[in-house]
């Protein structure tokens, strides 16, 4: 026969079937620094551009450095708070949905998640803003919007754990709680982490929409720019928000990889 087929030992084939089916996370390396480097260049360029331009009084007050910095910090905290709330609600719900005894809640939970994501955020903010203002009003609406990504990934992440691994864990005498925390969660970190990052980015990107409800953050500068028709301000605020979203995703990726057990990280 002319065709030489690659002979893979059965042993090896069996190994790859037995593997978790996860795409292994790679280890840390210089490539991880590309994202922050690009962000730094973008921000530096923007600052240099602003410094070479003659700003009028309105622009100068809108783009005051210390104000922007405070808003950025505020923006980060609000986004983290929203993402944290989302994780705190969505992960336990995802766990309940995948337990045999509480599986029946799945349709309800997914319905709420879907409605939260499908409902137009801006509309909700407008309606709720009519009678409820402040951080919590914004956090609730934006949290509902971001929840589905974490919920879905938690469910998928827990469901994709190899049934053979779970059977062995049970058969060896691990308690259900031990199996959840010592087997299922560690093996689901890459998938749940991806959902959490999505939630975080959604939060960073949508916090400015909550500006009229008094959410705070860089949205104040963005909407001031829009309100007074200052393109320089609009571009600067938008750029900072976008860079912030990318950087938060990057930090999330690093944390996710750090939490991923070494055994399921790629060498």
């Amino acid at each position: 026969m002319a065709v030489q087929l690659e002979q893979r030992p059965l042993d090896e084939a069996a190994t790859s079937i037995i593997e978790t089916g996860l795409r292994p996370e790679r280890s840390f390396g210089w490539r991880d620094l590309v994202t922050p480097a690009v962000c730094a260049v973008l921000v530096a360029t923007e600052i240099w551009y602003l410094s070479t331009r003659d700003l009028d009084a309105v622009e100068a007050s809108q783009l005051e450095a210390s104000k922007l910095w405070d808003q950025t910090i505020q923006h980060i905290w609000i986004s983290l708070a929203i993402a944290g709330m989302v994780l705190g609600v969505a992960i336990p719900l995802g766990v309940l949905v995948t337990r045999r005894r509480t599986r029946w809640i799945a349709p309800f939970v997914l319905l709420v998640g879907n409605v939260g994501q499908a409902a137009p955020t801006v509309g909700l903010l407008a309606i709720v803003g009519g009678f409820w203002l402040g951080f919590w009003a914004v956090a609730l609406i934006l949290g509902a919007y971001a929840m589905l990504s974490v919920l879905r990934n938690t469910i998928v992440g827990l469901q994709q754990v190899d049934p053979g691994v779970l059977d062995a864990a049970r058969g060896m005498g691990m308690s259900p709680t031990a199996i959840l925390f010592r087997v299922e969660f560690p093996l689901a970190v890459p998938v749940i982490g991806a959902g959490a990052r999505t939630a975080l980015v959604l939060a960073v990107a949508t916090v400015p929409l909550g500006q009229n409800l008094g959410a705070g953050g860089l949205g104040a500068t963005l909407f001031a720019g829009i309100g007074q028709n200052r393109d320089v301000t609009i571009v600067a605020a938008s750029l900072f928000i976008a860079v912030l979203a990318v950087l938060m995703d990057w930090v999330g990726a690093m944390v996710q990889r750090l939490l991923t057990p070494k055994g399921i990280r790629a060498a």
Binding site: I17, D167, M172, G173
Partner: protein, 348 residues
């Protein structure tokens, strides 16, 4: 882990002295699922003697795995009693019960996020053994299954071949020195060459440890090779025959067993006969050129060698030194003896 210290499951024996097996008794054990018409397991009763490998073999869906999984209560029996060493398992805490029963499955189920050491030491850690003892035990277990501890301790499962993974699976199941082991097609996912090697190695490990082992397979040849006794199960885990391999091969109880034994029962029977049991002829000068077989070969192996080399006589060697010879007539004489024995038994 928030487990309270379990007094009953803290063996104080040194890691050197291993606990031998204890008997398991099933009394009219049944499993019915609400949605199914017939019982998955229908009132099975059997005694599994201490220190033996008992094989549950049968077609898929016959309830053999269900029967096995009821012993460590991964499946709760609908009715009946299961006793391990006289103790009713249904009266015990199921999680703690399982820590005293080794568990090996076809999918192996090593924890991919834990190192080999962490995998093997899992049950001893749950049983709160002290650190030193656990470390010694891990090395001892890896050595037992033929993996060099210094090379494998810190690896992760995905860095091992399938055969090596299942060795770790066996080491993990044996780590807390359970008197009883449940094995569900443990070598089913391994390629045939490695499977035979793992089987042989496991048998020699068992020779030392003398655990009570319930071993599920659908492969009758594996059953013959591994089993001290074989229970051939029909639908609903009805025991069609429960006997030593030799007995099943020479006297299948009914058509179902005969069908399951399959073609070539006589040849399979010869897999169980060792060359050592024959009186060897002295080596003659004429034997110089004939092929060799080791003294620990089976008659099946001898016959195979004779056919392969088209020779009626082979030189028998021990440690590479010729100690005698065996001829086709010797083998046939032994077959006649076996047949006579079987007929005598059937007549009785």
């Amino acid at each position: 882990m928030s487990d309270t210290k379990d007094v009953t499951t803290t063996p104080q024996a040194d890691s050197g002295s291993d606990a031998a097996g204890v008997p398991i008794v099933l009394e009219q054990v049944s499993k019915r699922y609400p949605s199914a018409k017939s019982a998955a397991v229908d009132e099975i009763s059997m005694e599994i003697p201490a220190g033996e490998i008992v094989i549950l073999v049968g077609p898929s869906g016959c309830g053999k795995t269900t029967t096995m999984r009821m012993i460590n209560r991964l499946i709760e029996p609908t009715s009946g009693k299961i006793r391990i060493d006289g103790e009713d398992v249904l009266s015990l805490d199921d999680v703690k019960l399982r820590r005293k029963i080794g568990y090996v499955i076809q999918q192996i189920g090593l924890f991919p996020h834990l190192s080999i050491t962490q995998n093997v030491s899992l049950v001893p850690r749950m049983l709160k053994w002290d650190k030193r003892r656990i470390n010694d035990r891990v090395d001892e277990m890896l050595m037992l299954v033929g993996l060099e501890p210094s090379e494998f301790r810190d690896r992760y499962p995905r860095q091992l071949s399938g055969g090596q993974q299942q060795r770790v699976g066996v080491a993990r199941a044996l780590a807390a020195d359970p008197p009883v082991m449940l094995m569900d097609e443990p070598f089913g996912a391994v390629d045939p060459i490695n499977r035979a090697r793992l089987q042989d190695e496991f048998l020699s490990v068992q020779e030392k440890l003398r655990k009570t082992i319930v071993f599920v397979t659908h492969d009758f040849d594996e059953a013959i090779k591994m089993g001290d006794r074989i229970a051939v199960l029909d639908q609903g885990a009805k025991i069609a025959q429960y006997a030593a391999p030799e007995e099943i091969l020479s006297g299948p109880a009914n058509d179902f067993v005969e069908g399951f034994v399959g073609q070539g029962a006589t040849l399979k029977r010869l897999q169980l006969e060792r060359l050592e049991t024959l009186d060897l002829r002295p080596v003659s000068a004429a034997d110089k050129t004939t092929s060799r077989v080791p003294i620990n070969a089976t008659l099946h192996g001898v016959l195979d060698e004779m056919i392969a080399t088209a020779q009626e006589s082979l030189v028998v060697v021990k440690d590479d030194k010729p100690i005698g010879s065996v001829s086709l007539d010797d083998v046939l004489a032994r077959v006649r003896e076996l047949r006579a024995e079987a007929e005598a038994k059937e007549g009785a």
